[in-house]
């Protein structure tokens, strides 16, 4: 690898200030540090530093997303074959078909998002933040597979510019960027984000089997078609229509395991959000109100985007509560809100996205009260002595 390192060192002056390509410094630096961890040594403070860096942190999240991506690709093929009555596809066929459908979404998401990141890093004179590597993978996984690519591009641009960069870039944003992209599409092009057709590849264009419905469990529940809902087993495994990465609870749990073991994702949020939703579901089971309140509470955990949102969205450290106590409160409230929106809101079948975005806004307030309790403890010490 020495020749590569030599080449990079050789090229570096051209990209530095005053060099011919100084406007591309961020891009150059991004690629150079991708290939080689730089030779910078500590200058101030601690003389040794942990081997962990932001690249590794983000890589772990991407690895955790892989099971959901792989199963999601397979499921795209599976749902397509069911809708169009194709019976001779093998698992590999289905995966291959699905992956080729998902790949353009990933490419568009990364090209548009990273393009904006590169430009803003150059303007700010920062190194490129790795945060978008995760966001760029999350976005395709929470989209319907048939979403037009130009819409995806617009929503990514909106999310990165309005959702993140105007607040000061990675680490400063208030709303989860991936969910901002989804919410933008949801409200701007509702036809492409709801209904029975968008969740299965090719259904919008027509030609499906007679009487085939591509409805997700959530939209069935919303219309009180409880009898048509898939079995809990199917919902848990994920062989149901839905956004690309959200259907398989098993795949998401593998990701959750990776995040929790490495300490990159907060188990506190995952646990409290699950308990919050389950508790709210049980409460509704007990009190009643409408027919929707009577489905088994645990259904909520395996339907729609709840599992995906809990593991990958609500836990985003930048937009979630930052104190440990705050995380429990934030998680529980998010879980409760998901169920309330699902069951009582007449317009939106899914509550996860809106619940998380809403609680993103409240997270700093939750932290404020938690930190204030610490301040009060400190002040009380003065009074008692």
């Amino acid at each position: 690898m020495n020749f590569l390192l030599k080449k990079i060192k050789e090229l570096e002056p051209k990209f530095e200030k005053g060099g011919r390509y100084e406007k591309l410094y961020s891009v150059f630096n991004g690629f150079a540090t991708f290939l080689f961890v730089p030779d910078t040594v500590t200058a101030k403070g601690s003389h040794i530093r942990d081997y962990m860096d932001m690249k590794r942190t983000m890589t772990i999240v991407i690895i955790a997303l892989m099971p959901a991506l792989i199963f999601g690709s397979y499921n795209v093929g599976l749902q397509h074959s069911r809708a169009f009555g194709i019976s001779d596809w093998t698992v590999m066929h289905m995966f291959g078909f699905g992956f080729l459908k998902v790949l353009p979404l990933i490419i568009v998401s990364y090209v548009v998002g990273l393009g904006i990141e590169f430009i803003s890093a150059q303007i700010r004179g920062h190194e490129i933040n790795e945060g978008y590597l995760v966001t760029g993978m999350l976005i395709p996984l929470i989209m319907p597979v048939d979403v037009p690519l130009w819409m995806l591009a617009v929503s990514v641009a909106f999310a990165v510019i309005i959702g993140k960069e105007v607040f000061g870039g990675t680490g400063m944003n208030i709303l989860n960027p991936a969910l901002t992209a989804r919410a933008f599409l949801f409200f701007s092009y509702p036809k492409w984000m709801t209904g029975d057709k968008v969740w299965i590849e090719g259904l919008v264009k027509g030609g499906a089997l007679d009487g085939f419905s591509g409805a997700t469990p959530l939209s069935m529940a919303k219309l009180d078609n409880f009898a048509l809902m898939p079995s809990p087993h199917d919902m848990f495994v994920g062989t149901i229509p839905g956004s690309v990465g959200e259907t398989s609870v098993i795949a998401i749990l593998i990701g959750a395991f990776i995040l929790i073991v490495t300490g990159v994702g907060s188990w506190r949020i995952m646990l409290s959000m699950t308990l919050g939703a389950l508790g709210m579901g049980l409460l509704l089971n007990a009190t009643g109100g409408n027919e929707y309140t009577q489905i088994p509470a645990y259904y909520h955990l395996i339907m729609g985007g709840f599992a995906f949102g809990t593991v990958f969205m609500a836990t985003d450290p930048v937009t979630a509560a930052q104190t440990n106590t705050g995380k429990y409160i934030y998680g529980a409230l998010t879980g409760i809100m998901v169920i309330l929106i699902r069951v009582f809101n007449p317009a939106y079948p899914e509550g996860t996205m809106l619940a998380i975005l809403l609680m993103n806004v409240f997270a700093p307030l939750i932290d404020h009260y938690v930190v204030n309790a610490n301040i009060k403890r400190r002040l009380r010490r003065v009074k008692t002595t």
Partner: protein, 450 residues
């Protein structure tokens, strides 16, 4: 007597390069130095010029704000150089040792002296800077009586010397006299903390006039700031003092012999040093004697102090005023191909994101590479895992960044020193300079309060 205080938060960095428990005799050194960076916040007024002749105990400079706080020469000789850095800022006073003349400040039993007399003797002898205060972790300001004095009798920092071994080899038996002197300076208690009950050796067994405490837990349990937080925390308006355990001996030596003599034992550690043992020396002494022929190669970093909080010095630089160890560490200026993606069999980490967590080794070779690039704060919930205090580190750091004085005060700036945040800095995947920030916050507070 006192119950065991268990701390779960913190981290022992498994770095290779501990010193063998062998004490080498003092090697003669002629170059001594007093570094101004050892005293944050100090504005010094020089009392010597290049060429001045000094004795051990002669005043070199004093604090401009508190002229009674004097800083003296550790040895007799000639002021060889007054080193200045950027903007003519004083960096170091270098003294070439000649002879062994020393000023006699007069022996006396501190218990028979008044508080004012004890204070005066310590100040005249140049030992006052051994007393440091919280808040701010600076040299104790005269005029305030501290509510208590804290001494840590163990060091948990990476590769830290074994204090029991040091105390067992300390000459003179002046500890009790030092405690007696301290007892004249406060109306409160003198607290000494040990890492477990069995570790009270030598003079420690029969020490009188102190309260013993026992801590169990990973670094930074040995930091006196952490101990204060759990024994009797500093609140707004309160002041406590801290003294290094070997400096208690130096105080005692002053009162029993009348001389300024800070002879102490330090450990030479780190994988960059070939022979790692304990040395008898004194603060200010050039480390060249103990490093001579002892460096692995010339690509090593010499640190006075430990790897988390120490200061980088040249191989002939002087031992810091408060340091009890010298660490030699390989410089890490290499580029690692796809380093961020490697499984990390040999990479020690706080994070469970490396194979090394599954097949742990006892010790790891670490170097000074920063292992990444500077980023904004992203990760949460981990900094508090290595700070055993009821303090929200990230919120305090952000209050400092915002220069919000009230918030800093409310979030506990009075209780902390940069060394308490060293582990937060170590584990930070965003590679922020947290210790420097904390000192910046403390400096803002000092300015605001004056």
């Amino acid at each position: 007597m006192s119950e065991l205080i268990r701390l779960r938060k913190g981290l022992n960095i498994k770095i290779a390069g501990k010193a063998e428990k062998i004490l080498l005799p003092e090697v003669s050194v002629t170059r001594y130095g007093v570094r101004f960076a050892d005293f944050p916040g100090l504005t010094a007024k020089l009392e010597v010029k290049e060429g001045s002749l000094v004795k051990a105990g002669s005043v070199l400079f004093h604090d401009k704000a508190f002229p009674e706080i004097k800083y003296v020469s550790p040895v007799s000789g000639e002021v060889k150089e007054i080193v200045r850095g950027d903007k003519r800022l004083l960096t170091e006073i270098v003294i070439e040792q000649q002879g062994s003349e020393k000023i006699d400040f007069g022996a006396a039993d501190p218990l028979k002296l008044s508080r004012e007399e004890v204070t005066e003797k310590i100040m005249n002898s140049g030992l006052w800077p051994l007393l440091r205060q919280r808040p701010y972790h600076i040299v104790a300001r005269p005029g305030r009586v501290p509510k208590a004095i804290f001494i840590s009798a163990f060091d948990t920092a990476p590769l830290a010397p074994d204090i029991d071994f040091i105390l067992a080899n300390t000459r003179g038996g002046h500890m009790q006299a030092g405690i007696n002197a301290l007892s004249r300076l406060t109306d409160g208690k003198i607290h000494i903390s040990f890492d477990n009950e069995g570790s009270r050796v030598g003079e420690m067994k029969n020490l009188k006039g102190v309260e013993f405490h026992y801590f169990k837990g990973p670094h930074p349990a040995g930091n006196v700031g952490v101990q204060i937080h759990h024994i009797d925390a500093v609140s707004k308006g309160e002041v406590v003092w801290t003294v290094d355990i070997q400096d208690v001996v130096a105080l005692g030596r002053l009162f029993e012999t009348g001389f300024h003599d800070r002879e102490r034992i330090i450990a030479l550690t780190g994988t960059g040093a070939l022979h790692r043992k304990y040395h008898r020396t004194r603060p200010g002494a050039s480390v060249s004697a103990i490093l001579k022929g002892n460096l692995k190669d010339d690509h090593q970093r010499v640190i006075s102090g430990n790897v988390l909080t120490g200061k980088k010095i040249s191989p002939d630089g002087s031992l810091g005023f408060y340091d009890n160890m010298v660490t030699v560490l390989p410089e890490g200026d290499y580029s690692e191909f796809f380093g961020w993606a490697s499984p990390g069999f040999t990479k020690f980490s706080y994070w469970r994101a490396f194979i090394s967590k599954l097949i742990p080794k006892k010790e790891y070779d670490l170097d000074t590479n920063i292992h990444g690039g500077r980023r904004a704060f992203v990760v949460t919930g981990h900094y508090e895992n290595v700070l055993p205090m009821d303090i929200y580190p990230v919120h305090l750091i952000k209050a400092i960044l915002a220069e919000d004085i009230d918030l800093m005060e409310n979030l506990g700036i009075y209780e902390v020193a940069e060394e308490d945040f060293a582990l937060c800095e170590y584990i930070d995947p965003s590679k922020s300079e947290i210790q420097e920030l904390i000192r910046h916050g403390i400096n803002l507070m000092i300015k605001e309060m004056n």
